[in-house]
């Protein structure tokens, strides 16, 4: 039986090939070969890679008595969806989003991940990246969202906060390396598998959650409205973000900061259901209350970029001129190692994509042998472009070439490296005018979070029922 997590395996459809189990970084999928598998909700980090690789689907030839209609209904998917329904699937927030969009009293806000935009075109049979960001904005407005933001602004804040934390911990002799807290699946993985390392995690919320808390704290004030009347949707490439959004501590007021998560695939279902073709729409601009930082679009789409940005910003904060920072990235097996020379000290980072590749770095931290200042860990095999909520590649042989195309998109590449976050006018404005001071009570309340040690021993649901 499935146990109510965000990732489910359909017991009727699963053939028990166990490819998902072999790919699961946390051994959350159990079952006999040739028998339906099930996901343990306690172990699952909701990275959604099983959803991406599952090949068992509802055959049109086995359909009897409208089972497909029923199944679409059970999964809360629009009836217009034409794609096969695979055994491994993620739960969605579509009913909540639809209800919010037609509710008059609610102001709907959507924050758009840069990594969703390029691959969205694939869902419409177009070349990757041929739908422009402005057209996605237009499509979201057409669906009825009142405000559409790019979450690159929040990415900028997350990077700045993490860079500050490195500088602070270096100065005070705190726990090093600082572990990136931007990937919700990686955070959950650390809480479960390396609970003693949660003090190494950056205290900063993930960029998507920062977008959420800024909406409920900052935008609500700007709009002069009660946060309860703001419905906050996060358009993400990620299924783990769904699990993250429901964490009880991620709220600035009484209600959750992120009310609903929408993945790129689900957005495509919504658009097709309404008959909107985003590639034909006239471009529209992101709203400017949280102004997009275009240089950061590429971050999270390419392994090592977050670490580079964080280290560069650390340099800025330590008062080193941009020219003195040397950024070199060496690619190794599943990981790369950006370095920055600040003054006479070298700051190193390790970036690993895929939780299996991340584990050795965490093991080194546990033993106290990690030579790095920063660890960037991403749960999905190629960063956010291969996220659980991205368009699902049908043939295994095409998976890596398509992920590579997505990561190399020109639209995602920065015009020039170095976003100069510490001097960014919009971020300064937020800190100076709204928070009053950086790392004060108010900014901590909105931008920082805490972590929970989770061990497996409490979980066996099946054992307690037998």
């Amino acid at each position: 039986m499935n146990t109510g997590g965000f990732i489910q395996i359909d017991q009727e459809l699963c053939t028990g090939c166990r490819h998902c189990a072999g790919n699961c970084p946390v051994q959350a999928i159990s079952g006999e070969t040739k028998n339906p598998q099930s996901v343990s909700a306690d172990r699952c980090v909701a990275c959604g890679q099983c959803v991406q690789i599952c090949t068992a689907f509802d055959s049109i030839f086995d359909e009897r008595w409208g089972r497909r209609t029923e199944r679409l209904h059970e999964r809360e998917m629009p009836q217009s969806v034409m794609e096969p329904l695979f055994a491994a699937h993620d739960c969605n927030f579509l009913p909540e989003i639809k209800a919010a969009l037609i509710e008059r009293n609610l102001r709907t806000v959507v924050h758009c991940d840069a990594s969703v935009i390029g691959p969205l075109a694939e869902e419409f049979g177009l070349r990757t990246g041929s739908i422009k960001p402005g057209q996605v904005v237009a499509a979201l407005r057409k669906l009825g969202f009142h405000r559409v933001y790019s979450n690159t602004f929040s990415v900028g804040i997350a990077i700045l906060e993490q860079a500050r934390e490195i500088a602070e911990r270096v100065r005070k002799g705190g726990n090093l390396p600082v572990i990136n807290s931007s990937c919700p699946a990686a955070v959950r993985f650390i809480e479960q598998s390396f609970p003693e390392l949660i003090h190494f995690l950056s205290g900063c919320r993930s960029p998507r959650q920062i977008a959420g808390s800024l909406t409920k704290a900052y935008l609500a004030q700007q709009f002069k409205t009660d946060p309860a009347y703001l419905f906050n949707v996060s358009l993400a490439s990620c299924t783990a973000h769904k699990l993250e959004a429901t964490r009880s501590e991620l709220r600035v007021g009484e209600h959750r900061d992120i009310d609903a998560v929408l993945t790129g695939r689900e957005l495509a279902w919504m658009l097709k259901h309404e008959g909107f073709e985003p590639s034909l729409l006239e471009e529209s601009e992101f709203d400017q209350e949280l102004p997009p930082i275009d240089e950061l679009r590429k971050v999270f789409c390419h392994i090592g970029d977050v670490a580079q940005a964080v280290l560069e910003t650390t340099g800025e904060l330590l008062g080193v001129d941009q020219a003195a920072i040397e950024c070199s990235a060496a690619d190794g097996g599943g990981a790369c190692f950006p370095k920055v020379r600040i003054g006479d000290q070298e700051y190193g980072a390790a970036s690993a994509s895929g939780l299996q590749n991340a584990a050795p770095f965490l093991e080194a931290v546990r033993k106290g042998e990690s030579p790095f200042h920063y660890l960037e860990l991403m749960a999905c095999p190629q960063g956010c472009v291969s996220g659980g909520g991205q368009p699902k590649v049908l043939l295994p042989e095409r998976r890596n070439p398509i992920y590579a195309t997505r990561a190399k998109l020109k639209a995602l590449a920065p015009a020039k490296p170095g976003a100069r976050l510490s001097t960014n006018a919009a971020i300064r404005h937020l800190y100076d005018d709204f928070f009053g001071k950086a790392w004060g009570d108010k900014s901590n309340h909105v931008l920082q979070t805490r972590y929970v040690e989770r061990s497996f021993e409490v979980q066996p649901v099946q054992a307690s029922s037998s």
């Binding site: 053939t15 090939c17 490819h19 040739k34 689907f57 055959s59 049109i60 030839f61 034409m82 794609e83 096969p84 695979f86 694939e122 869902e123 419409f124 049979g125 695939r265 495509a268 279902w269 368009p391 699902k392 590649v393 049908l394 043939l395 295994p396 042989e397 095409r398 398509i402």
Partner: protein
């Protein structure tokens, strides 16, 4: 040649599989068309919609009228009938034009393995089977390989006796 869909969302019609995985307690195997030389499905087709060319038995969907005779003739159960409309919804039959029939029905056409006739690199099932359990058998090469194996076995047997 049309580019085949790459991602699930790109499919604008229901997927109609051409091989069928049979799973029983002792065996799991896909069953598909054997591309018979004297194909019973082609022999039985009244519309000459099934023909064999270049080692492939192919259905001409334009000619097929959905009589299901081939389905009954096939000894392997390799033929299924797939809906003509992309979402399996009922449509007006062609006969409606002359007979004035007003009722929509879901119409079906013969659907079977064509060894990925449109695909440059041969059958997609072979390229993508994670267990590499599928091979395309070339009769000449297969016979030659069998003979070589038999000869080697013979040699091994002799050595075993004489040493």
């Amino acid at each position: 040649m049309a580019i085949p869909p790459e991602v699930a969302g790109e499919l604008n019609a229901r997927l109609t599989p051409r091989l069928f995985v049979v799973s029983a307690s002792e065996v799991t195997a896909p069953v598909m068309c054997r591309h018979c030389e004297d194909a019973p499905c082609a022999n039985v087709c009244k519309m000459s919609a099934i023909s064999r060319a270049d080692g492939k038995v192919l259905v001409n969907t334009e000619r097929c009228v959905g009589c299901h005779l081939c389905l009954m003739a096939c000894p392997f159960g390799a033929i299924e009938f797939a809906p003509l409309s992309p979402d399996a919804s009922p449509i007006y039959p062609m006969a409606a034009k002359s007979s004035g029939e007003k009722n929509k029905t879901t119409m079906y056409r013969a659907n079977k393995c064509d060894l990925c006739n449109d695909r440059a690199n041969g059958p997609a099932c072979i390229a993508n089977c994670p267990e590499t359990a599928l091979v395309l058998v070339n009769a000449v090469a297969a016979t030659r390989r069998r003979r070589n194996e038999a000869a080697l076995d013979l040699l091994a047997e002799q050595n075993a006796v004489w040493v």
